[in-house]
Amino acid sequence: MTCCHGWPARLAMTIALLAFTGPLAAQDSITVVSNGGSIADAQRTAFVVPFTKATGIRVVEDVFNQELAKIRTQVETKNIQWDVVSVTAINEATGCDEGLLEPVDWSRYLDAKQFEGVGGFGKCGVPHNFVSGGLAYDGDKIKDPPKSWADFWDVKKYPGKRGLLYRAEQTLEVALMADGVEPKDVMTILSGPGGVDRAFKKLAEIKPYVHWWKSGDESMQILLSGDVTMTYAWNGRVAAANKANNRNLKIAFAPGHVSGSQIYAIMKGTPKKELAIKYITFAAQPEPQAAFARAISYAPANEAAYKFMTDAEKATLPQGYLDRGSLQSGPVYFNFWLDKGDEVLQRFIKFAAQ
């Protein structure tokens, strides 16, 4: 009932705002920062170029690797070079808490309901896409697809090496799923007593067969070359690898996936706050969202965007499997990884090094 109540007005207001200030903003520019690579390319085609066309505001793009230190340095020295940053949910929560990002009441500009499925707005940011990590394998080489993470752990049924992310976060969740925990309970169990120990114990079983990958590219390289039989991988990378190499890699979400949003947030203290809000709200609209999802093969954050996508495009997207995911949002997730993250990561590094 309260759903779509104000959204036409909001949408109209946003577009009017953009159209009206467009010509006046001919000389303005903002800097938008992302993780680079294919994400930056998709961002350019889906958000940056249309935004500049609609508003006349120039967008300078930049790259970083989620190093909060770089954000902190700029804010603390009041030497703000960036305006909009694309951060992980954890970095948005941390950055917001520590006063590095601008708190904004996004419900003034956008309909909160459309973003509920991916975890909703942050105090400082708006999700702009939804990344899922799932079980990837070569569709041409494996005819009997794995149905669970326990299958991933089963080296007798599926001989060969496995790929796992060289990070505690996401890998421990996957380990628990292999140990029989339902995806929606994973964070509760992990943050509960003995959860971390249980996950490490499970990882130890498969450790001799693991190739730890450090980058999205590497995860695809090892699967394409046949170095590993199966790997944990991010869905957008799988689609991109298929496109570039004309292969038939598949990603399964039914066994359980770990998903979270990338969030656009504004650097605290930037003089271009209003322009930044304009950009972010533009990127959150259904059509740009669909364009981004199409370009990068990650899911849109705005549910209304699915209307604009074809079935073929939705093939590597977890639409329909959202309940099979361990979501990277919510207090249980944030508190666990913010509190225990460093300690668990240190334990993981030691574990992987032995």
């Binding site: 460093d342 990561l345 030691k350 090094a353 032995q354």
Partner: protein, 408 residues
């Protein structure tokens, strides 16, 4: 020393002129000296200081610390401490210092972060008696461990980071204990860094000594050419060489192809992103640092000596061990020290060519700086590395000094 009739000696005039000259020369060199002091020595000093710097607790919880001054560290603190804590938390409301305090205390006790953040939000509504109210709303405050951590970090200087670098920590009663076994990775890390550096040094020595000897005793034109060949890879950046090795050693690379073509192996073996690849790449990069010092020392050993020893009836091996090697020793020591110390501090090579089992100290200094933004930990590890390097060079200087004395 004659004195002229005016009373000033010639010696004094000469001395004055000398002083003036020295001052002028110093002035010429002064810009560089100031530059090094301001932009090198000072930052490193600050860096070393950061490994003991502890501003968060003592800056954000002043009242609490005063109240905890007489605390016995074994039973829960009294109402006064709780009241002080609430007052401090209220003063921190909305400030970034609250989150930084939360993060800092989280290093001491895992989970402290959310306790602080939650308590920060709660503090507004607190009413006396604070002790009862706070424990009821945030049970962690009923645990001595948390208060103990605050008390441990009371001083503006701390040994927390340095202890952690040795896999030690302080318990809530203040005593030192080993860190939990699963997280204790720094001693292993240092051991690993030393071992890798040692392996690379030995390899460089075995491979580099014959090369240095051949160059040292070759005809000048040949020696010149060979030296350029040694310097050639030395002149190109480490990055390019590491890249070249990744390409050579990868599964589809030339080495594996050659081995398969020769029939020595059936399927490619993993030669890169592990210890093997790292050792090969580092040896390749550091070899010139072994060859050059060795060469300059070996050049001074007269060829005739070995022949003389042979003519006196000594077998070649004995001649080598008794005549050649002792004179080559300074070069061996210099080259080995150089290679060892440089590889200790390596960061790029392990990051590119090594695997998860091969990360060295330098990598963690960078990791704590960028990824987790734990500058205290980064500084502690860096300080230890610096101290080790300094000790080794000091030992080298001492040995060279002793050598000189003995030569006299």
């Amino acid at each position: 020393m004659s004195r002229s009739t005016t009373g000033t000696s010639i010696a004094a005039l000469v001395r004055k002129a000398e002083l003036r000259r020295e001052r002028r020369l110093l002035a010429i060199a002064a810009p560089a000296i100031t530059f090094v002091l301001v932009f090198f020595v000072l930052p490193i000093g600050l860096f070393l200081f950061r490994s003991v710097d502890n501003p968060e607790v003592h800056g954000s919880l002043p009242r609490t610390l005063t109240a905890l001054h007489q605390w016995d560290r074994t039973t829960l603190p009294d109402e006064q401490a709780f009241a002080a804590l609430v007052a401090d938390l209220r003063a921190l409301r909305g400030k970034p210092e609250l989150a930084m305090l939360a993060r800092r205390l989280n290093y001491d006790v895992s989970g402290f972060r959310s306790v602080i953040i939650r308590s920060g939000r709660l503090a507004e509504q607190g009413l006396p008696p604070y002790r009862k109210w706070l424990i009821a709303n945030e049970p962690a405050w009923g645990d001595v461990t948390y208060w103990g951590a605050i008390r441990n970090e009371a001083s503006p200087l701390t040994d927390f980071y340095l202890l952690a670098a040795f896999d030690l920590r302080r318990l809530s009663n203040g005593s030192i204990a080993p860190a939990s076994n699963e997280n204790a990775l720094f001693r292993d890390l240092f051991a690993r860094t030393f071992w890798i550096s040692f392996t690379v040094t030995v390899l460089c020595l075995i491979v580099g000594f014959p090369v240095a000897a051949v160059i040292a005793h070759a005809r000048p034109k040949v020696a010149n050419l060979l030296l350029i060949l040694v310097l050639l890879p030395f002149w190109s950046s480490l990055l390019v060489r590491a890249t070249a090795w990744i390409v050579l050693l990868q599964d589809e690379g030339l080495i594996n192809q050659a081995l398969i073509a020769l029939g020595l192996i059936a399927r490619p073996i993993r030669l890169v992103f592990n210890r093997i690849g790292l050792t090969i790449a580092m040896t390749h990069v550091l070899l010139p640092f072994m060859i050059l010092p060795l060469y300059s020392v070996l050049r001074g050993i007269p060829q005739g000596q070995m022949r003389a020893a042979a003519s006196l009836g000594a077998k070649p091996v004995i001649a080598f061990l008794r005549v050649y090697l002792p004179q080559a020793l300074p070069g061996i020591v210099a080259g080995s020290t150089l290679v060892f110390v440089i590889s200790l501090g390596y960061y790029v090579a392990p990051a590119l060519v090594g695997g998860p089992r091969d990360q060295m100290i330098g990598y963690f200094v960078a990791y704590f700086t960028n990824s987790t933004v734990n500058w205290g930990m980064a500084s502690a590890l860096g300080t230890l590395l610096l101290v080790i390097v300094a000790l080794i060079y000091a030992a080298l200087a001492r040995t060279i000094g002793l050598e000189r004395l003995r030569a006299q």
